[in-house]
């Protein structure tokens, strides 16, 4: 048996070990972990209410008293950025969850049942034809400007891409000998999908989902920055940067710091994704 067959029929228990030996993966994991842990610990490390106005403290640059400085309403930027991290984590993970479920469902159905493929993919392609940001703006406008609605909107915008990836794997896997054998033996479709096809389609999906987390966080920031995401005063990183934009010459830290946080998160996730791809599915690998 070749390495590839080996990986297919045995769950890769040695995958975590190989991941942890991948330098860039570990770096990415650490960067992401910093943000994620800060988000989880928000109520303890950032106890000040991120929305509390304190006009007499407005426009303070970063100092000992205000680690990240204050904004035009005197709100602590440290609080706002940390609670913003919470929101980013929430949004990223929710969009990933939606995509994992909906994308897999649609992709699997389209790839497995040929008669469903055409119809599903037409609608899929139609959704994918829209520039992502514009579609997100329109859907958010329809649903409303709450965090939940932004999550649904982003889920909707990116599911077609995930579905395509799952579908591609399923189509290839469906033709595999052992799957054909199972069909000939009379196994039910559900069982075949669950036991033979989906587990082996996971690798590209997982890679895609890790990049998707980054894209979701980034797109949400873009939406808030444009003023079409979660409404102020919700402290998403995009909102903080949008509100800080008019004070760009007086108080550049209002923009600089959340942007940096955003960049660290996205960089960490991209490195993570690269590492996962290298280990899980070398066919997709960017050469070492």
């Amino acid at each position: 048996m070749t390495d590839e067959d080996d990986r297919r029929t045995h769950p890769a228990w040695d995958t975590p070990r190989r991941l942890l030996h991948h330098r860039l993966f570990v770096l990415g994991l650490m960067l992401f972990a910093i943000v994620a842990i800060a988000a989880i610990l928000a109520p303890w490390i950032a106890p000040t209410d991120p929305n509390k106005l304190a006009m007499r403290f407005k426009f303070r640059p970063p100092s000992e008293e205000f680690l990240f400085g204050t904004d035009n309403f005197g709100r602590s930027l440290w609080s706002r950025v940390i609670w913003g991290a919470r929101l980013s984590m929430l949004i990223g993970s929710s969009v990933v969850a939606i995509n994992a479920v909906a994308g897999t469902l649609i992709g699997a159905l389209a790839g497995y049942f040929r008669w469903l493929d055409n119809g599903l993919m037409r609608v899929n392609d139609a959704l994918m034809a829209f520039p992502a940001v514009l579609l997100a703006i329109a859907v958010t406008a329809v649903l409303g400007p709450s965090i939940a609605d932004v999550i649904i909107a982003l889920g909707l915008v990116y599911t077609p891409r995930t579905a395509r990836i799952v579908r591609a794997s399923v189509i290839v896997l469906r033709e595999m000998e052992y799957v054909q054998a199972a069909i000939a033996a009379g196994a039910g479709h559900g069982r075949i999908l669950r036991r033979h096809i989906l587990p082996n389609a996971m690798a590209p999906l997982i890679v895609q989902l890790s990049f998707l987390f980054a894209v979701a966080v980034l797109t949400e920031a873009t939406l808030s920055f444009l003023g079409v995401g979660a409404v102020p005063p919700t402290p998403t990183w995009g909102n903080i940067m949008a509100e800080g934009r008019q004070y760009i010459s007086d108080a550049p830290w209002i923009i600089a710091i959340p942007g940096l946080a955003l960049m660290i998160t996205v960089l960490g996730l991209n490195l993570l994704g690269d590492g996962l791809r290298d280990v899980l599915d070398p066919r997709l690998r960017i050469q070492p």
């Binding site: 392609d125 829209f130 520039p131 992502a132 760009i248 991209n270 050469q287």
Partner: protein, 315 residues
């Protein structure tokens, strides 16, 4: 070849039909009153109501849909509520702006991306390679509006070399156009150049391993000839597919960049249209933009087919 092209275009039509339906449905589901947006802040209820009637917004939705399709059939996309001019005119006015900016960004992307990707592949595992890949990584992780804001802080506010925003058309004043388009183009290009660099490097490495390259090297052909003629030519095929994705990302990225730098392009036009409930503009504009993207993708597929004789007859 022609057959492939025709089939592709025909295949795109149902997609566009669905796109138009989705667009119409979505924009009409957005709460809020376009008449209120147009009338402005101080308007009374009567004034808003009159505007609504004047613009035909109080008709039943299905009637509006029917009218839109009927007009669409003879090429009339309707009239922008906000700008008062035909949708087609507004789109054609703004399109060259976005195209010029995208072209500038695309040139930067290709030069930076292909350049660093090729160099990284040739100098594999040296510090040049590492540095290039780190930069590429940072490029794809840096949010483009953040980069834009940082550039504004540095080059416009602090140094005063470039304006903070605005736009000078290319044909009016090329220098002014360069001045107003450089920061937006860079903020668009960096992410895409990073993507392109990584993929170029990977593809080049893949190709350089191939037997025919080793043969060419063994034959003693100059390195440069090997690289340019054989490796690059074969690497172009997968790279072309990426360019298709890049163009689509350019339009997406243009939305933010144009808003940030106050550039009157298609991205900004459509964003404002959605925000102001300019129904005809969104419907027509999104349809046109999507159609354009579909056409571009078909074009990319054609290029792909031309470059790779193996797939030419597969359609």
């Amino acid at each position: 070849m022609l057959g492939v092209l025709i089939r592709r275009v025909l295949g795109a039509l149902p997609v566009l039909a669905i796109v138009s339906l989705i667009t119409f449905g979505m924009i009409h589901m957005i709460p809020g009153d376009p008449a209120a947006a147009i009338a402005g802040m101080s308007a009374t209820a009567e004034q808003i109501a009159n505007i609504r009637t004047d613009l035909g917004l109080d008709q039943p939705v299905l009637d509006q849909l029917w009218h839109w399709y009927a007009n669409l059939a003879h090429g009339d996309l309707g009239r922008s509520l906000l700008l008062g001019i035909p949708v087609m005119t507004a789109t054609l006015q703004r399109l060259p702006v976005t195209l010029a900016l995208s072209a500038y960004a695309l040139v930067l992307t290709l030069v930076l991306g292909l350049g660093s990707g090729i160099v990284a592949a040739l100098k594999r595992n040296t510090w040049i390679d590492q540095a290039a890949m780190v930069l590429a990584m940072i490029g794809i992780s840096l949010p483009n509006f953040y980069l834009g804001l940082l550039m504004i802080i540095l080059f416009a506010v602090d140094l005063g070399w470039l304006p903070t925003g605005g736009y000078v058309p290319l044909w009016q004043n090329p220098i002014g156009w360069l001045a107003t388009s450089t920061m937006p183009a860079i903020s668009l290009a960096l992410l895409l150049a990073g993507l392109l660099a990584r993929i170029t490097r990977s593809t080049m490495l893949e190709v350089l391993r191939q037997d025919y390259i080793r043969t060419a090297n063994a034959k003693g052909l100059p390195r440069r000839q090997v690289v340019l003629k054989h490796a690059l030519a074969n690497a172009l095929i997968p790279i072309t597919t990426v360019v298709g994705i890049i163009i689509s990302l350019l339009i997406s990225g243009a939305v933010v960049t144009e808003t940030l730098f106050s550039i009157p392009g298609i991205g900004q036009l459509l964003t404002q249209a959605v925000l102001n409930r300019d129904y005809p503009m969104v419907q027509g504009g999104l349809l046109l933009t999507t159609a354009l993207l579909v056409l571009i993708n078909i074009g990319i597929d054609v290029c792909y087919a031309l470059l790779d004789p193996r797939i030419r007859y597969d359609g």
